[in-house]
């Protein structure tokens, strides 16, 4: 697996096996924050950023845990590190760029419980990626997440103007659109192989 080219890793994570539409990771923000295009874009950017940072950390921890022969600590170590990374990143951004901090707002702390982040850390470990491959994988996953979120937000903004029956309102409708999007993304299968 680790012989894969960087470009195919990126395509794989962003389109072929899109985290939201093929692995169902990060469904909560996908359903919750996809109402408006502007918030969706910001959420996507925040997730991309945290994914890159936590991918870097997860790689380090994995190396450390292998060195001290304690694989059973993997899950606990990952979740603790992701939670504290998000905190650190939040503090760092608040200090360095108040404008960016205001733009990301509430989304930054929410990312801790986004399963896409932990999923990314676990997948990259399972696939045995090197440091560079891990980072490209994180970038692809983040880009795919943002793409799905932005597509969804665009569709939902249009739907605001449509007359929809009461029973279909809300999550039911969003899930069916997600199903159609997921069907569309199946067309990417085999790309970059």
């Amino acid at each position: 697996m680790s012989g894969e080219s960087l470009w195919s890793i990126f395509l794989n994570a962003s389109l072929v096996n899109n985290f939201v539409l093929a692995y169902f990771l990060g469904i909560c923000p996908f359903l919750g924050v996809s109402g408006k295009l502007a918030t969706a874009t910001r959420m996507g950017a925040a997730v991309c950023f945290v994914m890159l940072v936590s991918s870097l950390c997860a790689y380090g921890i994995h190396r450390l845990l292998v060195a001290i022969e304690a694989p059973y600590l993997q899950l606990i170590a990952y979740i603790v590190v992701i939670a504290s990374t998000v905190q650190l990143v939040e503090m760092f951004i608040r200090k360095m760029s108040p404008a960016l901090f205001r733009a990301l707002g509430i989304f930054l702390p929410l990312i801790t419980t986004n399963c896409a982040i932990l999923g990314l850390a676990l997948f990259q470990t399972n696939k045995g990626y090197t440091l560079v491959q891990s980072l490209v994988y994180a970038l692809g996953a983040g880009a795919g997440f943002t793409l799905a979120l932005v597509l969804m937000a665009g569709i939902r903004e249009k739907l605001e103007l449509a007359a929809v029956p009461d029973a279909v309102q809300g999550t039911a409708l969003t899930l069916m659109i997600a199903g159609i999007l997921s069907l569309a993304f199946m067309g990417f299968a085999g790309l970059g192989a």
Binding site: L25, L31, L75, I76, V80, C115, A172, L175, G179, M186
Partner: protein, 217 residues
């Protein structure tokens, strides 16, 4: 635990029942969507995931409730996550020991129980404020409600997608399975249709959700 149960019998029964139907975690609260969609491509996977989540939910609810006076408010979320992560590690190794095949089918989604918002949500909203017995029952009820919802989804997807239920073929050889139902998009469609069905019941006659105790329509 038994004594506390007897002291407030009406409330305790309700703690258990409400998770099954009135506050069903999947169909009503729409929590913990990731595993619901990801592992419901067959009934057996759905059942295993439901039971694993219930196990973690019951134990973490009980432990959180036991520790509720000892944990400072500022670090409570971190403590909850640590407790949950430890139990999930236990479940992970347990499933690996029982059935390696099942462990492979569920893959990373066993580890991802840690970030299931349902578990953290119950710990924060219920167990950190209530007695041990009530938290235990709440965890059991919510866990069973979650399992029931997963089974609803898994059964539909397996029957349509592979023409079988729990691996037993249901249709004669001429049946053409809807492969799309066991693919990711089938998960979105099935859950969307279930939610639509429940919305329909609620919009049409609100009395129904009080009258029917189980999740099976």
């Amino acid at each position: 635990m038994k004594g506390a149960e007897k002291a407030v019998p009406a409330i305790s029964t309700d703690d258990f029942i409400k998770g099954l139907w009135r506050e069903n975690p999947v169909f009503v609260q729409v929590l913990g969507m990731c595993p619901v969609l990801a592992v419901s491509n067959s009934a057996i996977n759905a059942l295993a995931m439901g039971l694993a989540t219930s196990f973690v939910l019951v134990l973490s609810n009980t432990l959180v409730s036991l520790l509720r006076h000892g944990v400072p408010r500022q670090v409570r979320i971190a403590t909850f996550i640590l407790i949950i992560a430890s139990f999930v590690t236990v479940v992970d190794y347990l499933i690996q020991a029982v059935s390696l095949e099942l462990h492979r089918a569920l893959g990373a989604f066993i580890s991802l129980i840690v970030v299931n918002c349902l578990i953290l949500g119950r710990a924060e909203a219920f167990a950190s404020k209530q007695s041990v017995s009530r938290s235990f029952l709440d965890g059991l009820g919510m866990g069973l409600g979650f399992t029931l919802a997963l089974l609803c989804l898994g059964a539909v997807r397996e029957i349509l997608g592979s023409g079988a239920l729990f691996g037993v073929a249901l249709f004669p050889a001429g049946f053409q399975p809807w492969t799309v139902m066991i693919l990711p998009s089938g998960g979105f469609f099935t859950l969307g249709l279930w939610l639509l069905f429940f919305n329909y019941l609620r919009v049409r006659k609100p009395a129904v959700r009080e009258a029917v105790p189980g999740g099976t329509p």
